[in-house]
């Protein structure tokens, strides 16, 4: 075998050597990661490789997810709209949503909001207008809205926001959404029927109003994503399918 190798041209030998060296290094890297992974129980140092994210509603935990002890740890109720106990049209309800980095590495984050109507059985009502559900979004303080994927003609219920700076470990973003209200104009979407009859010499007129949005539920669904900051453009493209540009540390949409 060695005799055959010796007979190879030097260029081929050099390529082989380079390939073997690179392969060896990548293997060593994996072995090193695996070693750290198993050793974290004793040292806790592997935390630097953990990613995690937390969605907070009005300063309280809504849901969090974090890679821990070899598995994803999920905590929280996974609920939003928790403060609306008595609903009124046109009233603004506080709904401050933030993202907190509870992982061990800094990350870029984004938030996707879905607003829509459902019936009492939880079925989406695609023919009811989500624009009556009005959100106060924050497109300043580090958040930018992706116009191509927000309230588009084919997906009027969806809004996508990106946080432009990396979120350091333990840090929390500013609120990407501040409040929610339902436009009272939704009450004018109705039909009225009028009937008149005579009862005991009295003329009785009955007007019945049937509201299109009566007995419906307005729904809010929020997804937050985090991705590593190392090699961020490729990582974001791979994880989120989105082309972005990172200038320095600042993210912008292509």
């Amino acid at each position: 075998m060695i005799k055959h190798l010796k007979s190879l041209p030097k260029s081929v030998l050099a390529m082989l050597a380079a390939a073997l060296i690179l392969l060896a290094f990548s293997t060593v890297g994996g072995a090193r990661a695996a070693l750290k992974y198993f050793s974290e129980i004793y040292t806790g140092q592997f935390n630097t490789y953990h990613i995690g994210i937390q969605l907070r509603e009005n300063g309280e935990l809504s849901v969090s997810k974090k890679w821990s002890s070899g598995d994803w740890a999920v905590e929280g109720s996974s609920k939003v709209l928790g403060e609306i106990t008595s609903f009124e049209f046109g009233k603004t309800y506080r709904e401050e949503l933030t993202v907190l980095n509870n992982g061990g590495i800094s990350e870029y984050v984004r938030a996707t909001i879905y607003k829509y109507w459902v019936d009492s059985e939880g079925n989406k009502q695609v023919d009811l207008d989500p624009s009556y559900i009005q959100l106060e979004l924050n497109t300043e303080d580090g958040w930018i809205k992706d116009p191509a994927y927000s309230e588009s003609a084919d997906h009027p219920e969806r809004i996508v926001l990106y946080y432009t700076e990396p979120l350091a470990v333990g840090d929390e973003t500013t609120a990407f959404m501040k409040s929610i209200k339902v436009d009272p104009a939704v009450k004018a979407v109705a039909t009225q029927t009028t009937s008149t009859k005579t009862v005991e010499d009295k003329t009785v007129t009955t007007i019945t109003t049937t509201y299109t949005y009566d007995d419906k539920f307005f729904a809010l669904e929020v997804q937050v994503d985090g991705v590593q900051t190392h090699n961020a453009e490729d990582a974001i493209k791979s994880a989120w399918g989105k082309d972005v540009t990172i200038s320095g540390t600042t993210l912008s949409l292509d």
Partner: protein
């Protein structure tokens, strides 16, 4: 020999590519989702009873709905030429546009029946009118869901847009 060199070179490139693919798959990412929903309920039912006595039409507007089903009410009467209609009723006022408006709205607490009365008195009846003569005094009444300003406050009935999306089938 040349063929073997080529195979070795391709193998080397494949090894390099495999190493790259491995790193490309190793991005750290995480995703979570929360959701919530709140019911919108605002059914309502309005009944108007009209009683005639002593040249006065008494309109009783009864409303049954929930907290979110408030409605404005307004009424307008038509009488033969020469006759006069005089309106009176607690919390009713002239809107200046031919309609009399109930000040505020009906339906302000959950599942409660509320009523209001508007009297329409007919005067200047022709002196030669006798028993058996007939003439028409018609009162029309309308309701429409309450409307809000940009701060979420309910606006006065007379200022509301009565031609909003409500379709009336009568």
């Amino acid at each position: 020999m040349k063929r073997r060199n080529l195979i070795l070179a391709v193998a080397a490139v494949c090894l390099l590519l495999c190493a790259s693919v491995k790193s490309a798959m190793a991005y750290f990412s995480v995703s979570i989702r929360s959701e919530g929903h709140t019911e919108v309920k605002f059914s309502e039912h309005t009944t108007i009873e009209e009683e005639f006595d002593s040249w006065t039409k008494q309109l009783t507007v009864a409303y049954e709905g929930d907290d979110n089903g408030q409605v404005y009410v307004r009424a307008k009467g038509f009488a033969p030429e020469g006759m006069t209609l005089t309106y009176s009723g607690e919390k009713w006022s002239d809107g200046g546009d031919g309609y009399w408006y109930y000040d505020g709205y009906l339906g302000n607490s959950e599942s409660i029946k509320t009523t209001t009365v508007l009297n329409v008195q007919i005067s200047d009846v022709p002196a030669d009118a006798k028993a058996g003569d007939s003439f028409n005094v018609v009162v029309i009444y309308e309701t429409t869901p309450v409307q809000y300003d940009s701060d979420g406050n309910i606006i006065p009935a007379a200022s509301a847009d009565w031609s909003t999306g409500v379709k009336t089938n009568d």
